[in-house]
Amino acid sequence: MHQLSTDVLIVGAGGAGMYAAITAARAGTSVILLDKSLVGRGGATVMAQMTVAAALGQQEADAWTTHLEDTINAGRGLCNEELSVLLCREAPARILEMEAWGTRWARENGHIKQEFAPGHSRKRCCYVDFLNTGPAVAATLRRKVGEMQNVRRLSNIAVIEILVQDRRALGAVGLHVADGELVMFHAKAVILAAGGLTKLFARNSASANMGGEAYALALWAGAELVDMEFVQFFPIGHLAPRLVGMDPILWDPFRYKLGGKLLNGRFEEFVDRYGGADFGKYTAMRDVAAYAILKEVEAGRGTPHGGAYLDFRHISEQQLRAAFGPVIDRLLANGIDLTKAPVEVGPMAHYHMGGVRVNADMATRVSGLYAAGEAVGGANGANRLSGNAISEAFVFGARAGAAAAEYARRATLQREMLPVRAAFEGLEALSHGGAKDAPTPAALQAELQTLMWEQAGPFRTEEKLAAALQRIKRMQLDDLPNLRLSQGNSFNLDVQDWFELRAMLATAETVVTAALARRESRGAHQREDFPDADEALLKNQLLELKSGRLVSRWLAPARRHAKGAGHD
């Protein structure tokens, strides 16, 4: 087993992880930055094509407090307002810092160009043309991280366990995918920046990296999770015609810039029937739009692929090209001519509002264990505004890096061998390789994704959720230890899939458990058997492991003026 030591270990090298690496290194600590894929290329950040919300006030007058009002309003009463304040107050500084580091935000008339997005009361969302925000900010951060002498980057390492002793994080165990070896990292502080969980759902906009590992690792380490029932289903993900080489979320910026009409299978406008106003603009918030589309599908008024039409035929090719230039050609290469035919869109899992419970320093209740970015729960409550995810990655990443560095300066390194439970469970499963007719980890992942989409997706009921929970538990107990795994150490994806599946199942269990307990509908959590919001449930739900069992409890949300908000 390889062994490496560092002050701060960062798990996940997307926007949050790279930002954390920069601030931790600037504070003078040594950093190891890990990614399951390649540093700065995996995860969600690099896929973001659209906008970043920050009250810069460059397009029109704006204030961070106005951004905060909008964020809290979208969160349907459940925002951890202490975190929302940080997000909105610090986003402008991070955007300008990124510009100083080389990100070329779209500009006009000498200022950063900012657009409207649904739920924002001001023109607030900046971007990099054309649909290039994610790759551009990832490139900036990769370059910046590369300049830091005290940051060691390691690619193709999947972290499978956080090492904890006496409620203190002391490092992690990783699987080096290229040669199948385990790597032990000794660290004074660990930051979980491994993103969200949308890969749990069959219809998703995820990369291969969003299996919910950050949540499982935090839970196993003794941290609490919050709001795990709130999965954001992006309403207008691309369904058809088949489109390759572009993110399925691409239609969002099209709607910001050009409107576009959302129509049902009969070519009627319908969002207004569900309490949203859309009317060829783009004003309906994400939860409302997702609900409206799926209700139309359920009523038999969907499109052939089970969604709605998005129609730009009333917009001239000249306008399309002015707004999206080369993207129009990429669409044509896929056989999509927006001037001639509508496309089909529908909800897909896109982001997780819930996550690891942290305080304003991004610290969990486990000493030395921090979280950043989408892995953090609470800042967006029950529904996230578009544009807040990248801001959150920057702001929370910067804070987590600084706080972890400060903690590491006071901590000492523990180098003794620690018990590595998860790693050895895995090695045992690997050693017998399973029966010849047993499913592979990849096949069971696919089954889990279908199960979660059908039974724990946008519309939930007690019956469906209970069935999902039962199957997940059987997968954990019966299937996981007996899967068919190929032998061999060189880039053995069966092994990576096995550990990933193990984390996916643990995280899926938290989502379903939380969704069962929340007997109301609010924001992104829609219970068909409890269609209304219940004032008594205007609370956050916390999950933790007690003697290996998942236990849920409720807590009033942290309000911005509340004293001692955050941890109780």
Partner: protein, 113 residues
């Protein structure tokens, strides 16, 4: 996810960990108009042979730039390369050290253990 089959495509995939002693293995994949070569490779891993080694991250967005291979003799991003009905040959990048199957060593030196 393959929803509607409009025939099949045959993939000839170079397997093994040796540049010289590799062999081709053939897989039949349900073909849907517009699907990518990467769609087919991922489908093979889930449904036919999970031991196939491939490298990818973003799946569909051509943002991660990690899924390159030689498709019908031409170096392409497999997420952009459209599959066609009929035979498609997929091989690892020719000028990179081979790790296994379609995975070559594309990790920058400073990001290695």
């Amino acid at each position: 996810m393959i929803e509607r089959s409009a025939g099949t495509a045959l993939l000839r995939i170079r397997r093994g960990a040796s540049q010289r002693a590799g062999r081709f293995q053939e897989f039949n994949v349900a073909y849907e108009e517009g699907m990518s070569v990467l769609d087919a490779l991922r489908w093979i891993r889930t449904h036919l042979d999970s031991t196939l080694a491939i490298r990818y991250s973003c799946i569909n967005a051509n943002a991660c730039k990690t899924c390159m291979a030689r498709v019908n003799g031409k170096i392409e991003y497999t997420c952009l390369a459209k599959l066609t009905p009929g035979v498609t040959t997929v091989e690892p990048l020719p000028k990179r050290p081979l790790i296994r199957d379609l995975v070559t060593d594309t990790v920058p030196d400073e990001e290695k253990l």
